[in-house]
């Protein structure tokens, strides 16, 4: 059901082995990080609502690596992977999930509301689709300031039913704003099948608002990377927004609390056979870019990074209640 609505791509240099190595490392990092957060949740180290990204790694790694330093990112609540792929410090992400002082927002945000302004990572949003207009505002600012900077706006398939999805797409196209709308279609919004919540196909909706719209294989990091690079070129050239639907799949439940009564184990197994990390590993091995020892090294490095993140988070103190009222309001500055 992936439907191509437009744009044959420009010839794009394929990423070299070094970059593929980075993709592989990052995807493994995202995978292992989430397995670990799931474990920490079960141990009671992480509380509240936790949505794991396992299975969707190719989307974050392909898309975020296609961006430039000056670009901005807003995303939804399933945001750990996007933050990691943007290079946000894994230690501080884990500490935030633990709710500790060294977390990205010192325990104010938690899992669904990560941010790191210094990385242009403007946050996870847990109101479905509320961040879409915000992305258009970021794009509008770039356009008005005549700066080559774009906003990558990541959201799930559940967003397309919200009014703000439509408002934002219309405005982005109408005002020629540099925004990449990146929809991770993992086929479910909580327990509801995507096919049961939209009367049409997503790229058709986007195309109706007059922007290039493609549906791609979100389990293939190279395809995601190439397509997002195309989108970056498109936006950077002043051509307005670009829409990507990445077909993907989450291996775990919607959140840790999901008993997953709406799908069969067999469906998950079918998707695991198309696992993005396995696919890239194969790809690299077939081309002599990776051998078993190299892979084991990736695994070792990732395990260490994740263990370090847990140790860092665990060692970080709980926030004092004296921090509760800080930064409620911004103070006037002279700028």
């Amino acid at each position: 059901m992936t439907q191509q609505i437009s744009l044959p791509g420009s010839a794009m240099d394929d990423p070299g082995s070094e970059q593929l190595g980075l993709f592989l490392y990052q995807m493994q990092l995202l995978r292992r990080f989430e397995e670990k957060t799931g474990e920490m949740y079960t141990k009671g180290k992480i509380r509240g609502f936790l949505h794991l990204y396992t299975g969707q790694e190719a989307c974050a790694v392909g898309a975020l690596n296609a961006l430039r330093e000056q670009d901005q990112i807003v995303t939804h609540y399933r945001d750990h992977g996007h933050a990691l792929a943007r290079g946000v410090d894994a230690n501080r992400i884990m500490a935030e999930l633990f709710g500790r002082v060294d977390g990205l927002s010192g325990g104010r945000g938690g899992s669904m509301h990560l941010y790191d302004v210094s990385k242009g990572f403007l946050g996870g949003y847990a109101i479905v689709a509320a961040h879409l207009p915000l992305a258009v505002g970021l794009g509008l600012a770039a356009r008005m300031q005549k700066e080559d900077r774009l906003a990558l706006c990541i959201f799930g398939d559940g967003s397309v039913g919200e009014g703000e999805f439509h408002e934002a797409l219309n405005l982005a196209a109408l005002w020629d704003t540099p925004v990449i709308f990146f929809c991770e279609n993992n086929l479910y919004g909580m327990g509801v099948r995507f096919a049961e919540s939209l009367s049409t196909q997503i790229p058709k909706l986007a195309a109706a608002y007059n922007m290039p719209a493609v549906s791609i294989n979100g389990m293939d990091v190279l395809e995601v990377y190439r397509e997002t690079r195309k989108a970056v070129e498109h936006c950077s050239a002043g051509n307005g927004p670009y829409f990507i639907e990445a077909m993907t799949y989450r291996y775990r439940g919607h959140s840790m609390a999901d008993p997953e009564l709406y799908r069969l184990k067999d469906e998950i197994e079918q998707y695991r056979k198309r696992d993005a990390i396995e696919a890239l590993k194969q790809h690299m091995m077939e081309r002599g870019m990776l051998d078993q020892a190299g892979w084991e090294d990736v695994v070792r490095r990732v395990d260490k990074a994740v263990d370090d993140a847990v140790a860092f988070a665990d060692a970080s103190p709980e926030p004092g209640l004296d921090t509760l009222y800080g930064n409620l309001m911004a103070e006037p500055t002279d700028d």
């Binding site: 207009p133 405005l171 500055t333």
Partner: protein, 325 residues
């Protein structure tokens, strides 16, 4: 400078802001043509590309402002009527209000949302609402509701300069109702201060917007009977100026709170609570409220509308009662 109406004060301030700071831009429905109340008239010709007609998408008008404000712009959004702002409630209350807090000051939002509110213009259900209580309830958004043209100027200027989201409420009935002489540049005014507009010894009336003018008129009426009312213009509804509220309440020991918004859950309850908590021993009478009745919409028919709206007669009657207590 000659006398200015409220709408002229708003327009002049927007003009000065656009002229003085490249980062300021206006967006909203019909703002290029001047808007329903003509607040932005003539501005697009003077500042092309910085006065933007948006589609009818209130949520996105506010959401876009957040994104643009984060990146160094100073958006001043107009929601055509306050009644339409609720589609953007989530953007203001769930996103903008906590931006500084969630980023612990790494980013801030210098944005203003202006909107005409209030009744008395036969607008009926969907063009007369008082919306302030919903938004003033939210920490992290400043809510300003001036009464006099000079305050519109100085507080709108302050709102545009403020690094926080400000909801700037313009009472539509007062747009052309009140005129005020103004000399030179607007006074430097700080958001968050109430003002004692009329000194008096027998009781204290708190009000804002159109009701401030009605309260002043009521004070003159009862003065003829020898009752001397103090009148306080609240000006900012969030954060409330507790200091001035308490000072004014203690000064007379009798408190009358007036708002056009419906009674239950209105701001009057909050003001009464502040006084009851911190000035109880100074009170000589129960706190009184004059407010809109608990009816969902302001009715259209002029007699019913008048019944709904507090006015100088109702305020004067309540004030006489209170003075006699």
């Amino acid at each position: 400078m000659a006398a200015m109406t409220v709408i002229e004060a708003v327009r002049a301030t927007l003009d000065e802001a656009l002229g003085g700071d490249e980062r300021v831009f206006l967006l909203g429905e019909d703002v290029e043509a001047g808007g329903v109340f003509r607040a932005t008239e003539g501005l697009v010709a003077k500042y092309p590309g910085r006065v933007l007609d948006s589609p009818l998408a209130e949520s996105s008008i506010i959401g876009l402002s957040i994104g643009a404000a984060h990146y160094g712009m100073r958006p001043v959004a107009e929601i055509q009527f306050a009644d339409f702002i609720h589609a953007g409630f989530d953007q203001l209350c769930s996103e903008a209000s906590r931006w500084s807090y969630r980023t612990r000051g790494d980013s801030w939002l210098p944005m203003v949302v202006r909107t005409p509110w209030g009744g008395g213009v036969h607008g009926g259900q969907h063009h007369s609402q008082s919306i302030e209580a919903y938004y003033a309830h939210m920490p992290g958004i400043k809510v300003v509701a001036p009464s006099f043209p000079a305050d519109y100027r100085s507080l709108l200027k302050a709102a545009i300069a403020d690094p926080n989201p400000v909801l700037f409420l313009e009472h539509k009935r007062t747009y052309r109702l009140v005129k005020q002489e103004m000399e030179g540049a607007p006074a430097e005014e700080v958001i968050g201060r109430a003002r004692i507009t009329r000194r008096g010894e027998d009781l204290t009336i708190f009000a804002y917007g159109l009701m401030l003018h009605e309260s002043l008129a009521a004070a003159e009426q009862i003065a003829a009977d020898g009752i001397d009312a103090m009148v306080v213009d609240l000006l900012t509804l969030n954060p409330l100026d507790r200091e001035t509220i308490l000072e004014a309440a203690k000064a007379t020991g009798k408190v009358l709170i007036v708002h056009e918004d419906t009674l239950t859950g209105g701001l009057g309850g909050e003001i009464a609570a502040i006084i009851a908590e911190h000035a109880f021993e100074h009170l000589d009478a129960p706190i009184r409220r004059v407010a809109g009745p608990d009816i969902p919409p302001m009715p259209f028919h002029h007699t019913m509308e008048s019944f709904f709206m507090p006015d100088r007669a109702k305020i004067a009657a309540a004030a006489r009662d209170l003075a006699a207590y």
